[in-house]
């Protein structure tokens, strides 16, 4: 069986694009690359890590309770379904 392919997260900042580990949430992937993301609950209910999803698709590992706008997502409880481009709020 083949390994899951890592996806690329591009940030709308000077930071180099990073590769995800398919088992990590997007927040964990960002943290592994020393990218500072504001977070509190890490469970999708506080909304502290709310970020913009510019392009690409994500899926939630937990149903997010925090308020998120149409173009936003929560990195703490989501995984990338392909290459994505995001902007940290």
């Amino acid at each position: 069986m083949s390994e899951k392919k890592p996806f690329v997260i591009t940030l709308e900042s000077d930071h180099e694009p990073i590769h995800t580990d398919p088992s990590d949430t997007i927040l964990e992937s960002l943290e592994k690359h020393q990218i500072e993301v504001h977070y509190h609950c890490r469970e999708g209910f506080c909304g502290a890590c709310r970020s913009k999803l510019i392009c690409g698709e994500i899926d939630y590992t937990t149903d997010p309770l925090a308020y998120i706008d149409d173009d936003e997502f929560l990195p703490c409880c989501s995984v990338a379904l392909g290459d994505i481009k995001i902007k940290l709020v």
Partner: protein, 376 residues
């Protein structure tokens, strides 16, 4: 419209607005107009905790070893938090329940307020442990000038909404004179008062607690007052959830997903709502000044605490479409995140080590690749 505890006219709660529609009749949760409130109720109930489960006895020894200025910081914060939860333990019920039209929002409000009473009870638990006679602390909350100033701003929007709702529900729309003062009561005015009140509550849940949380966790970073810190972590987790609910309400209004008149009012009162938030930020910064007036504490000072308030305010304000008015881009107190992470909040607070319940936990997630090494 007169309030009734059981509205006998059949209504369809799926078509009602959140507020100022028909009074709720059947408490039913099989269907929801706004399912988020049902989800918040479930989440909040899953967080249930009791202050007595947290052992605060070691804090008494720690407290004796604090400097006078640190004692002032610790006790003043507890007083302020006691005030905030005294208000929040009753006000959402009294102000919002009489005008709510959705069963899921009604129960969310009751659940929310009930948890604030647990917070109030935990302050008594903490203070009773520190002082043989804690009365002087509680008595000072009503007379302390710094706290009174905040109490006025916090309760005035609630009081205004409650008073006008009472006039409307007993006398209907019109101009009513009470104690020589004429009050114009109509639906537009009531909705405006509700909008401002919700913004004030949102600001309270969003930032008013955070200066005192930061001080509590700064003590915990030095391994001091850890029982207190465990309780505050549980409170912070609840407050995060309460904030989520007020953010949802404000956004449902602003985006026209509930009462269309509230969307108009949100636009009309945009500047006033923002001013309420900015005033709360200012008061929190002044509070930091008052706390450190008698001397600083290790790991924290007024300047860094004010930066943290601005940093948090940026995030909270952008969540409700108010932009990011402050020029702080990185978190000045990164260790705060560890205390606000719900993984680090103990589910069984009687265990003294925070991560103990994660030790030996089994990862139940199995992916297809886990079987790669198997040969049959």
């Amino acid at each position: 419209m007169k309030y009734t505890t059981f509205n006998q006219t059949p209504t369809n709660p799926l078509l009602e607005p959140m507020f100022f529609g028909n009074p709720v009749n059947v408490a039913r949760y099989d269907q929801q107009k706004h399912s988020i409130f049902e989800k918040l109720i479930e989440k909040q109930i899953s967080f249930f905790w009791r202050p007595e489960e947290v052992d605060v006895s070691k804090d008494r020894v720690d407290f004796q070893s604090l400097s006078e200025s640190e004692k002032h910081i610790f006790i003043s914060n507890l007083k302020y938090q006691t005030l905030l939860d005294s208000v929040q333990g009753r006000s959402p019920n009294i102000a919002f329940l009489p005008i709510i039209s959705l069963p899921e929002l009604e129960t969310w409000t009751e659940t929310w307020s009930f948890f604030e009473t647990i917070h109030s009870r935990s302050y008594t638990h903490i203070l009773r442990n520190l002082f043989t006679e804690p009365s002087a602390i509680f008595d000072d909350i009503v007379v302390n000038e710094q706290i009174k100033q905040r109490a006025g701003d916090i309760s005035k929007y609630y009081d205004d909404l409650i008073f006008y709702t009472q006039l409307w529900q007993t006398q209907g729309e019109g101009v009513h004179t009470v104690d020589g003062i004429a009050h114009t009561v109509n639906m537009r005015e009531l909705k405006k008062k509700l909008y401002l009140c919700m913004n004030s509550v949102n600001a309270l849940e969003a930032i008013r607690f955070y200066v005192s949380f930061a001080c509590t966790f700064a003590f915990a970073e030095r391994e001091l007052m850890e029982g207190n810190s465990k309780i505050i972590r549980l409170i912070a987790r609840d407050e995060n959830l309460h904030l989520t609910s007020t953010q949802h309400i404000l956004n449902l209004w602003q985006k026209g997903k509930d009462d269309p008149e509230m969307a108009e009012i949100a636009e009309e009162l945009k500047d006033e709502a923002k001013a309420i938030f900015m005033q709360a930020v200012e008061q929190e910064k002044q509070w930091a000044g008052y706390l450190f007036a008698q001397g600083s504490m290790i790991g924290l000072n007024e300047e860094i605490l004010c930066q943290y308030v601005e940093y948090i305010a940026n995030h909270r304000m952008s969540a409700i479409g108010m932009g990011q008015p402050f020029d702080v881009t990185s978190n000045p107190l990164p260790w705060m995140n560890n205390y606000l992470n719900s993984d680090n909040v103990q589910v069984a607070p009687q265990e003294s080590e925070i991560s103990s319940y994660l030790v030996g936990q089994i990862d139940a997630e199995v992916s297809a690749s886990d079987f790669d090494d198997f040969d049959l």
